[in-house]
């Protein structure tokens, strides 16, 4: 093995580059995103590779235990159960869950198998982080992705961060914001909590949870009232402005909804609208709501009326969670989209794929989304690299339901979901295989193989192509060959190859043909809607989750710097676990007095959906009347709300009325 192999961090979607050496990590000083440095998770990324708990052999369930089986037995079994379910109950009885941590080539192949089997019930974890982004930005701007690269933030004069604690979750992004600040840029952070991101702010708007639309509409009200909007941009490049009526959202009224002072709302509006180049950064604090799609819409409205899109330093920057969320969605591992963002309702667009795939017919209409799968009457569920039990609300109920059909789980660890499976397939981790990942800024990077997978573990693509072969589909098992097919199926990836994606920093899509340099800034001349104009779309403040005498507090969920999602990887990294071993709940000292809770007490938190045990941490930066719990611990998902955003099927994970008491 060579001494060092360039790779891309497998955790968040920032897409930091580094080298893997036989000893661990070496920094890549000339990477365009992170310039060498890494956050704690990146620093310990190779931890998971040789971990003792890695799955090494295919395993089949026998009653309560497991037996080790050969690959051919395991693959034959998948190829038996899948068609059997199809014969007995039709395509509706099959469901597939792809992975935002697997490569583009793997997700592409996975969704292709699902569709060739006749179902659109294929989804990935993007459902729970950015499906509202997909729906809203696709409709309004034409392209459901970040408009500008992260490094563009350094060129902004005003950065409006809403619903994102990037300093903890995407620390490398803070680097570029600080560079803007050095140039004199203003930073506005809207967050109910005083997070490390709020420390960076010149103006911190500590709004009530779930009142983002009111805040943004309030800012738009001020902007229109003072004539700060960009008239010519609105006239030439947008539609729908006439319908945007925010006259109800006076600073005074918005003040009563959000709990902010009217003066701060006015100040934020002026800062954003008057700056030469302003950008909006948001994350799951915006999307993970039952009004998630409207929240994103509101952000885009603000950018559009001020003409803050399509130039360096402007734009709308959704920070994606997992390393390949963007890619998994571009590849069509979604219940509502085929590869290349072809809607499942658009038979014309799908026809091209039908020819490319040599398929007789392809399914139409939305399939089951990730959150609907456990409740559906399934006979066969194939889960690739996803811990659905821990990362979804209502863990307990899901555990029961998932057991009803044949469940295959393909993963690197025996996750809680894998424990429920009938068949477990050991997969290779990111650095043990090859293929491309697409970061949150649309940067496609080729990852080379740096190590051998442990035991008999195999790359997901190998497993999938073997399953496909047994089903009678001849699909390539070489990532380069799959990428060549993606070139045809996904227009934005038309010119992406191993060569340009393998360069330092890869290439940013759209890259329609092989000589194209990539497109860091979108929408410079026209939007990617059919007529080239963006759609301004009015939205209104919804009825929020209310507190009651029984549930007097509001629970907010989010992340902490040392852990990542369900923790299936970080909880196995001793360097991280040692520093953040158990679930805590942040409580404002005044609330702690009110409920008789002291620092370090074990407490119970109860919502309408469930209860969880945690250790209380008195935190002055917590907003009074709210509690905060990190969601990397399974308990948090016991209490998260199950309300859904009808448009994107996003669950309301951020806001739930709750009560807290000391558990002795």
């Amino acid at each position: 093995m060579t001494s060092r192999t360039p790779t891309v961090c497998p955790y968040c979607a920032v897409g930091c580059g580094f080298y893997i050496t036989p000893n661990g990590v070496e920094y890549m000083q000339d990477h365009p995103v992170n310039e060498g440095s890494l956050c704690p998770k990146g620093n310990v990324a190779p931890d998971v590779l040789n971990h003792v708990e890695r799955l090494r052999y295919p395993m089949m369930r026998t009653g309560d235990g497991w037996i080790r089986v050969s690959w051919s037995e395991a693959l034959d079994r998948v190829a038996e159960e899948m068609p059997r379910a199809l014969r007995e109950k039709g395509p509706k009885a099959l469901a597939f869950l792809g992975s935002a941590k697997c490569t583009n080539e793997e997700n592409y192949t996975f969704q292709k198998i699902a569709r060739l089997m006749g179902t659109n019930s294929i989804d990935n974890s993007a459902r729970r982080c950015h499906s509202p982004t997909i729906i809203a930005l696709r409709r309004m701007l034409g392209t459901p992705a970040m408009t500008n690269p992260i490094s563009d933030l350094a060129l902004s004069d005003c950065i409006f961060v809403i619903g994102s604690n990037l300093a903890e979750n995407h620390p490398v992004v803070a680097r570029w914001i600080l560079r803007a600040k050095d140039r004199g840029a203003a930073v506005i952070v809207a967050d109910p909590r005083v997070t490390p991101t709020a420390w960076l702010a010149d103006l911190h708007l500590q709004l009530n949870p779930g009142t983002d639309i009111a805040l943004i509409n309030g800012m738009i009200n001020v902007i229109l009232g003072e004539g700060l909007e960009d008239r010519s941009f609105i006239r030439e490049r947008t539609r729908g402005f006439e319908e945007l009526d925010v006259s109800d959202y006076t600073p005074e009224r918005v003040s009563s909804i959000t709990g902010l002072s009217a003066a701060d709302i006015v100040r934020a509006a002026r800062l954003y609208a008057k700056a030469g180049a302003s950008s909006i950064v948001y994350c799951m604090g915006i999307t993970q709501h039952s009004c998630g799609t409207e929240n994103v819409t509101a952000c885009a409205n603000l950018a559009l009326i001020c003409g803050q899109v399509g130039r360096p330093g402007t734009g709308i920057l959704p920070l994606r969670g997992q390393n390949n969320v963007q890619g998994a969605c571009d590849m069509g591992a979604l219940a509502d989209f085929y590869p290349g963002w072809r809607s499942v309702d658009d038979s014309g667009a799908i026809d091209e794929l039908r020819r490319l795939w040599n398929a007789r017919s392809l399914p139409l209409g939305r399939g089951l989304t990730a959150d609907m799968m456990p409740d559906a009457d399934l006979r066969f569920l194939y889960v690739m690299g996803e811990d659905i039990v821990n990362s979804h609300p209502a863990v307990a109920r899901r555990r029961e339901r998932l057991k009803r059909g044949f469940v295959v789980v393909q993963d690197i660890f025996l996750t809680d979901t894998a424990k429920l499976a009938d068949l477990v397939l050991p997969a290779a981790a990111w650095a043990e295989k090859e293929g491309t990942f697409t970061s949150t800024e649309r940067r496609v990077q080729w990852v080379s193989r740096a190590r051998e997978p442990p035991g008999d573990a195999r790359p997901d693509l190998w497993i999938l192509s073997e399953v496909a072969a047994r089903l009678g589909f001849d699909l390539p098992h070489d990532p380069e060959e799959v990428l060549a097919e993606i070139n045809q199926a996904v227009p934005a990836y038309g010119g992406i190859c191993r060569m340009n994606a393998g360069r330092r920093g890869g290439i940013i899509w759209p890259c329609p043909h092989p000589d194209h340099p990539g497109t860091p800034v979108l929408h410079t001349e026209r939007f990617s809607t059919p007529d080239g104009r963006a759609r301004i779309t009015p939205v209104h403040h919804p009825a929020p989750e209310r507190t009651s005498p029984e549930h007097p507090m509001i629970l907010i969920t989010g992340r902490v710097v040392l852990h990542y999602n369900s923790g299936s990887m970080t909880m196995r990294s001793e360097g991280l676990v040692k520093r953040e071993p158990e679930l805590h709940v942040d409580v404002h000292p005044d609330d702690a007095v009110r409920f008789g809770v002291a620092d370090g007490d074990t407490v119970m938190i109860e919502t309408r959906w469930g209860r969880a045990r945690a250790r209380a941490k008195l935190t002055p930066g917590q907003k009074r009347g709210t509690l905060f719990m990190p969601f990397h611990f399974p308990e948090t998902n016991l209490v998260a709300s199950e309300l859904l955003d009808e448009k994107s099927m996003m669950p309301e994970l951020k806001v739930a009325a709750c009560r807290i008491w000391r558990a002795d």
Partner: protein
């Protein structure tokens, strides 16, 4: 001589520096083995909630370092050229005297080896591990004069902006 300087106003408390330091000082320099070794970090990101700040604290390698002066066995020495304060484990008796005089509280204790543990400014690296890891450049490695010069210029710019704004 180059120093590690801290810009607390830029620190977001992500603790990348702590992890990078611990890995750099694992015996094997090997992450996989380092974990069973439980390597210890030599800098401490102190959270100051009252002021919403995190401040990375590490050995300043003081001129005429007090820890060196009080060390009874000569385990601590200071390089006359670079000013780096070094610690020799073999001579260390774990008496804790150095820690009691350190103004910044950055001398730790390795309980198993019963020895003091402190920043050695990563002798094997061109740029110290913590500095290389920091995503926000809250830690910088440079000549004091250079850094102060840059900071003076930045402050002057802010002042000038203020004057210009008020005279407009």
């Amino acid at each position: 001589m180059k120093e590690i300087l801290v810009r607390p106003e830029r620190c977001v408390g992500c603790r990348s520096c702590e992890i990078a330091c611990a890995v750099e000082h694992s015996q094997s320099r090997d992450l996989f083995k380092a974990l069973s070794e439980m390597p210890q970090k030599r800098l401490y990101v102190e959270h100051v909630p009252e002021h919403s700040l995190a401040v990375p604290m590490l050995c300043r390698h003081c001129e005429d370092a007090p820890c060196v002066g009080v060390c009874p066995t000569g385990a601590l020495t200071q390089d006359s050229l670079t000013g780096v304060v070094r610690h020799n484990r073999d001579l260390c008796i774990g008496c804790w005297t150095c820690a009691s005089v350190c103004t910044y509280g950055v001398i730790g204790r390795d309980r198993r080896a019963r020895a003091a543990i402190k920043c050695d400014r990563c002798p094997d690296r061109e740029i110290p591990a913590c500095v290389a890891a920091c995503p926000t450049r809250a830690l910088i490695y440079g000549e004091v004069e250079e850094v102060s010069g840059a900071r003076r210029a930045a402050s002057a710019l802010k002042l000038a902006q203020g004057v210009a704004a008020s005279s407009r």
